[in-house]
Amino acid sequence: MIPGPFELVRATSVEDAIAALVEHGDDAKILAGGHSLLPLMKLRLAMPAYLVDISGIPGMSYVRVDGDEVAIGAGTRHHELEKDAVAAAEVPLLPYTASQVGDPQVRHRGTIGGTVAHSDPASDLPTALLALGGDVVVQGPEGRRTIPLTEFWLGFFETALAEDELIVEIRVPRTGSAGWAYEKFTRRANDWPIVAAAAVDGRVALANMAGSVVRATATEEALARGASIAEAAALADEGTSPGADMHADQEYRRHLARLLTRRALERAAGAASAAA
């Protein structure tokens, strides 16, 4: 439970952090809130030689409206997102989902950029983000580029982020009064989801049903052609490839995906009609 030896690089700017990534290549890992990375290091499942600490970089934590989108600084902590008034008004799915992450200690340390970069399929905020759609803004030595969220997560701990790139911002559409819901299934309040479903505006994303968070495309298509919630939700696990563990085997996970999708869609519909 003691990490292997490593050197700590305290970055003072995004450029500084990228320079460290360029220098050390895949020997380096970015340290933001540390709530995913440090446990892996303590178990020696990850042994980076260099840790590039970005928590001291100013200006990485913000939530602001930018045209039709809400822009969220990568360094925004879950707790900040949970309590943010702009987020509550413009994209309420996100602060609610942030409130469901881990426990207060985790929410005060973990960052949205960190959880997006980590690509754990059993993560709350990535599930909500995938349902929202939008982009990840990343910066590398050549400057910034934008990666659509639908193309960002490639698999378990695997993303479209290059070795020398840093996530600087997440952008999602303003959903305003559109109905939304996040249904998270756990055994204990502070656990990772066994399965979770996020629904907003006819889109549905699932946690822990594949190597990364995934969209329930069959459900979305069914909704688009006018199917009922029950009919559409019954298709939620189509195309998914859930794993089996002590909490759930594949059959049960598929059942949960269908059940939680139905509940999320019903709740979203209820919220939408209440807002109308």
């Binding site: 055994r187 309040a189 502070n190």
Partner: protein
Amino acid sequence: MSILGTRVVRTEDPLFLTRGATYTDDLVDDRLTGALHATFIRSQVAHGRVLSVDTSAAREAPGVVAVYSAEDCTDLDPIPAGLPMVPAAMSRPWFASETVRFVGDIIAVVLTEERYQGEDAAEMVSVDIDTLPAVVTTADALKDETLLFPEAGTNVMAAFGEPEPADFFAGCEVVVRQAVVNQRVAPVPLETRAAAAAWGEDGRVTIFCSNQGAQQAKAQIAGWLGLDPALVHLVTPDVGGGFGAKIGADPEFAMVAWLAQKAGRPVKWVENRSENLVGMLHGRGQDQVVAIGGSRDGTVEAYSLLVDQDCGAYPRFGPVLPTLTMLMAPAVYAFPKVHAQARALATNTTSIGAYRGAGRPEATAAVERALDLFAAEIGMDPAEVRRKNLLPDFHEPHTTAMGAVYDSGEYVAALDKVLDAAGYQELRAEQARRRENGDVKQLGIGMSVYVEITGADTGLGAGESAEMEVHPDGTATVLTGTSPHGQGHATAWAMIASEQTGIPVDKITVIHGDTDRIPRGGGTMGSRSLQQGGAAVHQAATELVELAKQRAAEQLEADPADLEIDLSSAGLSVRGTPGAGITLAQLAEKEPLLVQTRFEAGGPTFPFGAHLVVVEVDTESGKTEVQRVVTVDDAGTIVNPLLAEGQRHGGIAQGVAQALLEEVLYDADGNPQTSTLADYPFVSATELPSFELVDMATPTPMNPLGAKGIGEAGTIGSTPAVHNAVIDAVAHLGVRHIDMPTTPMKVWRAIQQAQQEGTH
């Protein structure tokens, strides 16, 4: 008014809640200056032949002072099986040299200057193991195909009782038989295991370790190391929880002392959480078969229990556990016939030890599940079935079919109290409404009535020691042989001493856990402390007042019989002459005012109670939410309700956790699946409602305080009540049994299966 029975706030808390207590890891002691840090290299294979252990690279790693393995340990005999019923061949080598028998078995140890260097160096020890088939379940063990100890010729560590007679249930109208799992759980104390040792120039070793009884730990370590006990000084610093798993000593504690001698420097070891989850003793681990027979009017005529106890790789308390389960098998019931049989088995897993209740919760869980199965079979309300079969109230000792002698019991009253407090009829009406509506969330009502045995070591010569001394400054010191690790003895023992002497609680210091100062003591386990240790303090304070009277009589030129204690001044006065007296402190100025005493109780006590639990089960997902826990826990006279409630709260929470959440899991090869707290789901406040505690107090005649044990009762009562409640919630769907922990997946699957069977 007596201070006893009042809610004195824990005197321990300001320290524990502010700068923190001094646990073994926190010790700052001259004797430990320059201590080396021990890091164990443990087997990653459940069962295998050790082909080679190469420590050469580790020896060269930064900070490494020494590396030891089996070849360096020729001066110690293996750790003996230690129990007369267990084959002697089932001993444990200090370092596995030929065979590893569980993931966690010790293969080597590195000593480093700094603690962090140990984990780096440990990775450089290269171990080559030829894997053997692993025995993971009791069913595997019983086959005796793969043997953990081939020289023993069997995996059976011990066997008790005969098979159930073929005609045992002859004449019963209804017989229900069910396999029931009482799963393996991990104790998870907040403070993991830790030890430090230093040898003095006088040839004595001082061992600091986290345990539940210094005297027992010392005796065990001295025995294992072949040391004259007089050369061992064992000190118990503050301890952050034990739950039975810190009873006595673990081999690692003795090894720390051995290492300190070998290295010629003090040595310290503090395990991390992953090491704790595979290295510390586990609890429970019984595969049971219950059978219950009787007539359709609800009368039970015969009850039979078969226990296959998983003991893990090496015998610790595991082989003893089923004897307690068998002893308590008849529980609170007047069953005319009770049969019990048990087999204690070796498996390639972490050893099983005592865990909060140790054998008694397993007995209660079995019989309470059996009664619900019987009630379901005959279609009778489970409360009614219980009432029909409970022992009638008794206040003279009652001897059970298994030979236990209960001191007193009012089981029907306890059940009625809990049903009333919960509003049982209204709950059943609400349940009926939901069933009729076909609600997604169904209500489950579960109950248990229990009796347990506390201070079970009474009569085995255990007793308990206490010493009390009043000092000239008006303060007092109490020395106890108990070993608090969260229970609040510093407060409770001071209250008991204060009640007799008038010395204020905040002027009384309670000391425990130092074998030089307190050579005899039974420690804290089996809910024994108050009824034995507290009673010993009571006796010491009483004797101290008598001694003071003798001394004061000379000073005051009065007959001792005319003297009485004046609690307001903590002194003695001549009866009828207010003011003319002398304080205990003044007496202590002349010569030490000190008594040492030993209390022997007349026998163990049998606390009892009844729990009622209400759960809501989401029938679509299988998830359970505990809504209410109402409990009656009769622990006799209560010395401090705040402390007693704390014990009930903690016990209930751990009991709920076993029913719903906790389980140590291994894969088919014996690899632990729950070796971090991300995977091992211990319960937290978010999963629990506020508990509704109902008072009931039947004093025991076994000690002058009238106190019975309360440490384990909550666990014993709550586990079956929650378990029964979950099954009750889905019983109308055709479900009769679900094994613990009743995870959402298991509940969902049980509903699916019941529905499929129902449609056939």
